[in-house]
Symmetry: D2
Subunit: 327 residues, 4 copies
């Protein structure tokens, strides 16, 4: 368990630097990390009393660790991060770090609404073992999240972060698209390594790849539904909720794309669209977790207010897998 002292010393030190606008020479920066590959955004299992079930989390990781993933995203949208306390967020990352294979990357979601809280969380994530930080756009005041505001936010975070920063645009949750021009500007920051884009707009993905081609900057697809198309447009991997249940298949799709077997890739991609939609837009995290139960992982309940699937929803979820030959 992370001691409270770490957290508060981080807070005090950063608070001072941030407000003095002192400078952000982050330790250990240099060549950006290569983030290409497939990531499973891990779910957070809970006990019957809604406590984080670290044991089950570790068991899931042991199973997931056998697939050829590039790594794991912890505290992404799939991880129910908005429902965890700051110390739970860090503890989960810490446990995953220990349970997962050493050679894989751990990307930790460290986004908060305020710039200062995001900086603090990012630094703490690094301290508990994250290799990179994925930072969702602030969203509550999305009407005021101009390009200038977003550039300021991400620049501060990247300045102070000891680990590379990955931008994270997920309009289905935030109501906000990180504008392409903003992404292009941010791609020039030495500590911003790439973006996870969950919009599903592959024209946008292609344009980001095109306009950052002179930068050391990588684009990850945010979902398995448009993974093949994203590779075709120049993305280098994906963070796929579906990989929590069909990890082998998502990795196989990656391999087919990377080796130019587009015809087989297409066939496989087609069969993954409905299952993927089911565990993302259609049934969300309760859908992922229910499917995990079917596939031998620890899914279990979500924290409230997320509700269990109704029997009708569960049946529809099952059909999305059976009709494509996965169950």
């Amino acid at each position: 368990m992370l001691g409270p002292g770490v957290w508060s010393s981080v807070r005090q030190g950063l608070s001072r630097s941030l407000s003095r606008n002192v400078g952000g020479k982050a330790p250990g920066k240099g060549k950006k990390v290569d983030i290409s590959g497939i990531y499973a955004p891990v779910t957070t299992p809970f006990t019957a009393t809604a406590e984080v079930d670290y044991g089950k989390l570790e068991e899931n990781l042991h199973k997931l660790g056998t697939f050829p993933f590039r790594g794991f995203v912890v505290q992404g949208s799939t991880g129910e991060f908005p429902f965890l306390t700051s110390s739970e967020r860090l503890e989960v990352v810490s446990r995953v770090r220990q349970a997962m294979p050493k050679n894989k990357l751990l990307i930790a979601g460290s986004g908060c609404e305020s710039t200062q809280a995001t900086v603090e969380m990012t630094v703490s994530m690094a301290q508990v073992g994250a290799d990179a930080a994925m930072v969702v756009t602030p969203y509550y005041y999305r009407g005021r999240m101009s390009s200038a505001a977003l550039i300021h936010h991400y620049t501060k975070v990247a300045d102070f972060s000891p680990i590379p920063v990955v931008l994270y645009s997920v309009p289905a949750n935030t109501g906000l698209d990180l504008p392409v021009d903003t992404v292009v500007t941010l791609s020039q920051h030495p500590n911003i390594a790439g973006i996870k884009d969950s919009s599903g707009d592959v024209t946008r993905i292609g344009l980001m790849v095109h306009k950052t081609k002179r930068q050391d900057f990588q684009v990850l697809a945010g979902s398995a539904g448009f993974l093949l198309a994203s590779y075709a447009m120049g993305a280098v991997g994906g963070v796929c909720a579906l990989a929590n249940v069909l990890g082998a298949q998502v990795c196989q799709l990656e391999r087919l794309c990377l080796t130019g077997q587009w015809e087989d890739a297409q066939k496989l991609q087609h069969r993954l669209i409905e299952p993927n939609t089911a565990v993302t837009r259609r049934f969300g995290i309760p859908g992922v977790k229910k499917t995990m139960d079917w596939f031998g992982y620890h899914g279990g309940p979500c924290r409230a207010p997320l509700q269990d699937l109704s029997p009708a929803e569960e049946e529809a979820l099952r059909v999305d897998f059976t009709s494509n030959g996965w169950l």
Copy 2:
């Protein structure tokens, strides 16, 4: 300053009760509080180093306390609550409680994403002196915020809250409208006193008043732009960001509506629309704070990532006030 012990004992006790689904006989419930009237949703002043400036907060309250408001909303959207830590949120409420006139109501925004965190925050808000708690809809997983999920969330919070709960629907920030049928169901809860509705849809406001008329339930307009129309449809007051700078005028509009002077009310309402839009949808909290500076209050900077207004924005803001005779 609130001791850390209070907070953690709240957490432990509630966590147990919530998970066991034990009871929710909230202390001191009975006849619901009458929340009718005008509220200023107070801003949170910050120092140059982005710390909460409690002194300036108190000075603002002393000034605002001279207007015939029914009370204050603390930690509403205008209060930058997503940018404050849990302890800052409580401390701000505690300070406002002390600085404001005893006979006024303090409604504290206690919404968080998870049900458990919202319960804890609501209980804590009561402990530091809030008279009622205003609870925004959870929003990050808005795609799964079904009526069932929302009813479960608010029922739990109201069950455990020692103070009356006010629902809060603000789609411009959350991308989510609390459905009228859900509101009608929740209005039957003995500890849910009303709703603050910021949608601007007065047909909806009228329908909520109509369908809850047999309940002890009240509707507040969430903005001064449709305050007259809301009164005309049966609302009993409003939470108006504009009241931070034109407090006398907003209270006068209330009086004109309540005394049936609709013609004068209309003239006044008309002159408040553009200033109101300017400090809400158009320029947001940076707009409120800049205007507060003009009107002799402590506005000052927002926390990042919210940015100061550009000179062009500031000029447009000024015109919205001067062209209507307020500056």
Copy 3:
């Protein structure tokens, strides 16, 4: 029946003037008409073979003519105008003119996508007896309908129209709000008499009234659901689909508002919200027509692709009327 010659001579003459940009001294312009009051937007009855049933149209008009409406809107959204040919549109207006009381106003919807077609239709509408023309915003290319494009469009139409023009903004159908600033600019045109606004945003309605108060310009609410609130904000009437079935009640609501009996007005308004939503947003024209059948009018089928209500929809529609005491 309108002879084909009229139509083609209109086309040729106008085409020449429009393209030469020759001048628009519309005959008979001067003081704008007073459009205040309640209007029923008449439906178009069809025979079993989907031909316009002019006999039933006239019978409906005879019944509707007994209410104290200010007049009728023909070829509004409720009239299924996009499903009628140009000659049907004119013939319907011509028949209504003859069947309705002489002292009432006939406002004819004459909007088309192109400016030229709209001018031609407007002139033709005048020729067949319309007192004013209601012109919906062009919408297919809404992404390019800038303020400049809309000002150009309405100015041309108003220049050439022999009868006053009423702007028509109905975002539920068009995906486009006529911006307030554009409305203010257009209000200065001597042949633009007002606007029918169906957005339901009464802040917007109040602002339009406020900013055009030095002009001879009037605002009509586009629906009965926010009629009281619109009067409270300065609108002078409404075009209400609900008036096709609850004509007396909508007129009574008008009277209560105009005589300052706001309390009774509110009670009546409340009971009209659900029936109104049912015949507009919820069930559309099939809902209006089904209800007309219940209330002794000729409703009947819509033209395809609009479908009859399903039995479940019909039942829900009925509940919206019975639960408010109207059936």
Copy 4:
């Protein structure tokens, strides 16, 4: 010029059959046409007096006819079809038929709001030489365009059409997505050959390909921005406004995709995204036409209310082409 007799006899005959619901054995149906390939959606040139300039239209076609397009779409959104009269729509198709190479396909946009008008227009389009009809979703009453309504509409049109029907979903204009399940149902109709999908959602495109794979049904991308990704997902071609100015490049992109040269395809695709966005979503038809002027075609003015580009817009348009090496 099409004689008026043809049109009115079509109308009378069809009106009778449609209303009697008599049955739709369309002449000459059998194996569906193969619509794979690239199409330029031709623009409609106008004279200075806003008449259709058939001479310039023909000259454009002669130039465009030299590219290896599969054919032309006439009266798509790019053709300003909502601004043309019925007889202009037919005359334009007739002229294109004569001016274009015999071996290419002519797909004519025949969508209208009502089912009956769409049937009539489709039949007429066939009579003037169209090989297939592209039918946009009805949109003014989009709130009532349920799956049942859309299935009824397209089934009637396909029943009566002498030529194959291509569905057309273009939410940017219509505010309406043709649901995938509806498309799958319609794909089973013997006279529905495919869909042009302009949503840009390639997950959707993949799913349509997947779920119609047992049908004789083809999917065309509606824009050059996601052409490569659409091919990768199983689409067989595209209707690309950009092909009006960069015809060789769009055809080259097709060839690279079809021959599996994905790396080169990606490079080319990247350079086409900004020019494509410029002539579609960003600057619309005025953008296409202005660029056509630059590239030696007859662009010229649009019909009102579409406005010419401002100098600033024109400059931005130019940069989108120059910065990608096309000007």
